[in-house]
């Protein structure tokens, strides 16, 4: 079991490094590069979300709070202090996400199930409202423009490789975590929290820990995104952003290690391709989601694996 798991991971790693690593070397437009950058960052954001939902069983509908916090940390630092504060802004975002996630986490992990979900949504919307209304400080609905990374990072290709490296390291960290005793404990919490108590482990403390880790990684994704788009907007804090990572995870497969990343890639590509032809692209996404949830609940990656193992057992039968 453990070895096949490692093998499956290996396939993904090879594809990730090859496709996204070589992309700038083949002839790509700056638009295509930006699209690839979006996939990397959203993929990482979705994976971080899935550490909470797919792994630990905590459905957060408010991860946009941390995504936006990361983005605004960078944006405001650059706006008020200047371009050279871009990287310290990323650091600030991580720090603030760590602090805020502990405070919010202590309040909301006391409740479970749908109540937890509603509270995450409430905190997320609160942050959105504050940012939206506080025009003088945050720029409100105008957002913040002209967030250009400093020095060599201002080069599109260099910045792409910078985010690529950060995303790869983050995913590597999440994969290590999934195999570690902490990851095992978190999966156990999703499957049978009561038994975890009887193994002498606190469910709440572990939930708080992963809420913190997931939130910090979400902030990292948001801060990286600021440098891709050169601008940020209150939409990054809006509940639809939280909803988007849920869709990506469900589409790719929440029980599959890299499912959410694949889901992110598929949704972004659909948005781009369909969005170029019709403004009703969200309708297409909606239909795809309905079909997936009803007919293919294991997600793209899960169904693909199931299909492959079915084909394999068929060929074995024929041979036998």
């Amino acid at each position: 079991m453990a070895d096949t798991g490692r093998y499956k991971d290996l396939t993904f790693w090879v594809l990730l490094l090859l496709i996204f690593g070589l992309l700038p070397l083949v002839k790509t437009s700056s638009y295509q590069l930006m699209l690839a950058n979006h996939i990397l960052i959203w993929g990482m954001f979705a994976l971080a979300f899935n550490m909470l939902f797919g792994v630990t069983g905590m459905l957060s509908f408010g991860q946009a709070l941390y995504y936006g916090l990361g983005a605004y940390s960078v944006g405001m630092m650059v706006k008020y202090l200047g371009q050279s504060w871009f990287l310290p802004g990323i650091g600030l975002g991580l720090l603030l996400a760590a602090l805020l996630s502990v405070l919010v986490g202590l309040l909301i992990i006391r409740v479970s199930g749908v109540f937890f979900t509603v509270l995450t949504l409430a905190f997320g919307q609160l942050a959105w409202q504050i940012t939206f209304r506080w025009y003088h400080f945050t720029g409100g609905d105008d957002g913040i423009q002209g967030i250009i990374p400093p020095g060599i990072l201002s080069d599109r290709t260099v910045y792409y490789y910078f985010t690529f490296a950060v995303v790869v390291m983050s995913i590597w960290f999440m994969r290590r975590l999934a195999r570690s005793p902490l990851g095992l404990t978190l999966r156990c919490i999703r499957q049978n929290p009561e038994r975890v108590h009887f193994l002498g482990r606190s469910v709440r403390l572990n939930q708080l820990g992963i809420y913190m880790i997931s939130s910090i990684l979400s902030a990292l994704a948001g801060s990286l995104m600021a440098g891709v788009d050169y601008s940020i907007h209150t939409n990054m804090l809006y509940w639809t952003t939280s909803g988007e990572v849920i869709l990506m995870s469900v589409l790719g497969g929440i029980g599959q290690s890299f499912g959410p990343f694949i889901g992110a890639a598929v949704i972004i590509i659909i948005e781009d391709v369909v969005g170029a032809r019709t403004e009703y692209w969200s309708l297409i996404i909606g239909i795809i989601m309905m079909v997936m949830v009803i007919l293919f609940p294991r997600g793209l990656v899960g169904e693909f694996r199931a299909l492959r193992s079915r084909l394999r057992s068929l060929t074995v039968q024929k041979r036998g």
Partner: protein, 251 residues
Amino acid sequence: MDPVLILDGLEKAFGGLQVTSAMSFSVEQGQLSAIIGPNGAGKTTLFNQITGYLKPDRGRITFYGEEITGLTTEQIVARGMGRAFQITSIFPEETVLDNVRVACLSRLNQTRRPLKAVSNFKEATDKAYAILESLGLKNHSDRLAFELAHGDQKLLDIGMALGLEPKLLLLDEPTSGMSPEERQLTRDLIKKLWKEFNLTMMFIEHDMDTVFGIAQVVRVLHQGRLLAEGTPDEIHNNPEVISAYLGEDLQ
């Protein structure tokens, strides 16, 4: 030697229903004892109070000389209490090995480690394999827990409790839902584990062959009270127990 566990005047009511009343007894080091009684006698409720899952209304629970009344389950487990469940309580989507290994990791205080792979924790892994070996489940190590037969899942549940290296192991109906053959095997296994791991064990059981076959001490619960306590022979011949629970046919 001081008793492992002392219950002193435990009381618990659910609304108007008294589920535990004036419950006092003590469990000696190394003892293999059984708790019997009709359904609703308060057996599982008693285990829930001992393990901190329920808080008694009154009374004291002392574990190795320390009062544990009011402590959380985690704190009580950390002090050396292990428990297996009547309705099997496992982690269905993890491997059989990992179900036991997570308990071993917990005992070694290593469950918070975020980077090193589980399989590289040698002490916990070796211990988990040793436990699976004793339970006869080693061949199933790599299977997912939900794929096991019911009887094997019950053993796995016990294996998880063993992974904690408990000073006191509580088993809630270890043979429930098993076939007569499985029961016989489990009975032998419990006795074997008790000796092999030097355990103090207390189990709830309805299967009288198991109770009278292996227990050194039997305690009878009836309507939340301790009706009788004694050796299997004493219990077997106790007129009160016979009329309340065992019935005439056992005579």
